[in-house]
Symmetry: none
Subunit: 407 residues, 2 copies
């Protein structure tokens, strides 16, 4: 029997409130250079410590042992969607990251400007890393000239530096397509093709992109150095069963950065906009407490400083979140889970595969008798090491949302 | 490759004795109210402590993360049967609980008396919760009048209060059927139907139950308030590969309560009857030591007091078992596993999803260097957190019953 079907059949609706607080990239590793402490262990966290005394802890594998996830799979797992079953293409993630509100079926591509020689050979895959302002101007130019191809709407949005995103919104389109990128200099831009040759929808999308190149390249012909562009990760936004239908919970997202709002939107969460600081995010949760059952609150800075390899700043970001935590705790939800979407160890300066620590507290979480919330403590917690996609199920169980299985 | 097939192919028969001692609902959670101790942690358990020093510990997930199992799935997992693959209907479990010796293919239903108005509308789903004596009298009446329908034998047995069980034993029958229960008052009793409409056997069972109603309702017509009855969880006892063929072990069950004897019988265990106390159960094990390879010894009281939310009584039940343990240990089996079929936290007053602690001792279990057997200690044990269905495989491995896999 399919496990999701079982969970679904056992689900009981009630009025419990569940909160998932994500410190992006929270997990870290203890190294000699930092006196064998992780940022979470080195940080002063009186409020997290107080929670730990009445909480269960464990560690979560975001995708599979050894797999380093991007933000997409990391968050999909936290939302209870198997990241191997629900794959979201890079173009889609990139579009979400730029705040584009995608609809199911939209085909999105990561793109970037490049330099072509007279024969159309790619001589610089990043067009000399043009400034963001130049990129914005070029995107504006393309967007003003190419609004539709046939009945398909075309959206173009600039990112940072030489990067941008193109979205095609029309009927009967589908990804994935092969890249319009030779992946090395000295070769022309390949024509994109449907990865699944039997998909008529993907064939149609491939023709559309061929036509897009035909119209766009002449517009850039006289530009230097950005007289061409490459497209990668061309994929459509898949149909994903909504969070609400899957879990019988009305979900809300309180995030600051577009990528996380986009990922929440992907599963049908309502976006509560406006909060800028974590204190404001917690206040927003309190203000909206009655209107939703599940709150996803996203905190970016732990990941950002982990990526920088800045141990002191990552530690401080944790301390700042801890200091704001009482605002949330004044309106304690029935179930509170605090974790990361993956680890971003300072020593790695990037995402990693290390299971992230998780703390779960409710009237029935029990206590693991740990005095703090740390990676090392979580290793000994009652939740063990488990797949991140089960976190929502443990949260639902703690909210008494499951009937007994069998007599 | 199917894992069960692999285990089966590697199985070596030998003369090892294996004992599974189940303290029903053993697992619990530490809460502030009980000074952060579970009943197992609060109990004085010198004999379990002595075992712990030379044992491996861990925690087991009975079905899946967050799923609270009934006794059926809980025990099937302990016996090594995936509870999602081998689902046993509620009617079957209820019949087993009343001590009815089911055969494969028997169709069983949970039933209870209800009150109907003149138009056949259910006005009280529990017939005013009639006394057990009244229920017994009504069941006797029905049983005396309806012994067979066609060639199908009908068995009716009273439970507690308004509850009873009906079993149909005949050829070519199968469940599951929809409920003969509107699940709320103000509606008539629905006619049952085959859940799988393509099953001729289930169609036949549905007709049989329709005929049962036709014969039984007139017999109750003048009774007040119990002039009708509802039937739910109508299912057949599935074919389950026997314990002996699966594991090459001659199994015996030493349980006091009918439900657990029934579950053991479901997988073909021999029932050793007569023992009433845990001391008598352990004595019985010693007396039968030579006649079997695997003993399932079931102790009910930990679950019973957990369901009552009676911490002191659950703790005392553990201490009483511990005090009797030397009787078992005098004839030490090659492998001894001590665990629960699930957790029944006093704070939850019912079964729960929390992984239950398990202790496994043998000459090759190794020592986790734990001084006691507790939930908190088990979190750090060498067995980790694992699916309960693998316990029998670990027991077999410790009994040296598996050949090496590959060269």
């Amino acid at each position: 029997m399919n496990l999701d079907t079982l969970y679904s059949e056992l689900t009981l609706k009630n009025d419990a409130k569940l909160v998932l607080l994500v410190l992006d990239g929270l997990g870290d590793i203890a190294t000699k250079e930092q006196n064998y402490l992780t940022p979470l262990e080195a940080a002063a966290t009186p409020n997290l410590d107080a929670l730990a005394r009445n909480a269960a802890q464990g560690r979560m594998i975001p995708v599979a042992p050894g797999i380093t996830p991007g933000s997409g799979p990391g968050h999909l797992a936290l939302f209870g969607y198997d990241p191997l079953e629900f794959q979201v293409g890079r173009g889609v993630i990139e579009a979400l990251g730029l705040g584009i509100e995608l609809k199911a079926g939209d085909v999105a591509a990561r793109a970037n400007f490049c330099t072509l020689d007279a024969k159309g050979i790619v001589t610089d895959r990043r067009a000399g890393r043009i400034e963001t302002e130049v990129c914005e101007e070029l995107c504006k130019l393309l967007a003003s000239k190419i609004k539709k191809i046939g009945t398909t709407e075309v959206m173009i949005k600039a990112g940072k530096g030489h990067r941008f995103v193109v979205v095609f919104r029309g009927k009967g389109l589908e990804g994935p397509l092969t890249d319009a990128d030779p992946h090395h200099e000295g070769a022309p831009i390949p024509v994109v093709r449907a990865v699944n040759k039997k998909s008529a929808k993907a064939q149609k999308a491939a023709l559309l992109i061929k036509e897009f190149y035909k119209q766009a390249l002449p517009l850039l012909a006289k530009r230097k150095p950005a007289n061409g562009f490459l497209m990668r990760g061309i994929a459509h936004q898949p149909e994903i069963p909504t969070f609400q239908e899957r879990y019988q919970l009305r979900p809300a997202c309180i995030a600051v950065y577009p990528m996380y709002k986009g990922l929440a939107q992907l599963v049908g969460m309502n976006k509560l906009e406006g909060a800028q600081t974590i204190a404001e995010q917690f206040q927003r949760y309190r203000a909206e407490y009655d209107n939703y059952d599940y709150f996803f609150i996203h905190y970016k800075y732990t990941d950002m400083y982990g990526e920088d390899g800045n141990f002191a700043a990552k530690k401080k970001a944790i301390e700042e979140l801890d200091a704001a935590l009482p605002i949330l705790l004044e309106k304690m939800p029935k179930v509170l889970a605090i974790t990361g979407d993956h680890s971003t160890p300072c020593a790695a300066k990037g995402h990693s595969w290390h299971p992230q620590p998780v703390l779960l507290t409710s009237a029935l979480s029990g206590s693991d008798k740990l005095q703090r919330f740390t990676e090392t403590g979580a290793n000994t917690g009652s939740l063990g090491v488990f797949d991140a996609k089960f976190l929502i199920r443990l949260m639902q169980a703690n909210a008494l949302m499951f009937d007994k299985f069998g007599a």
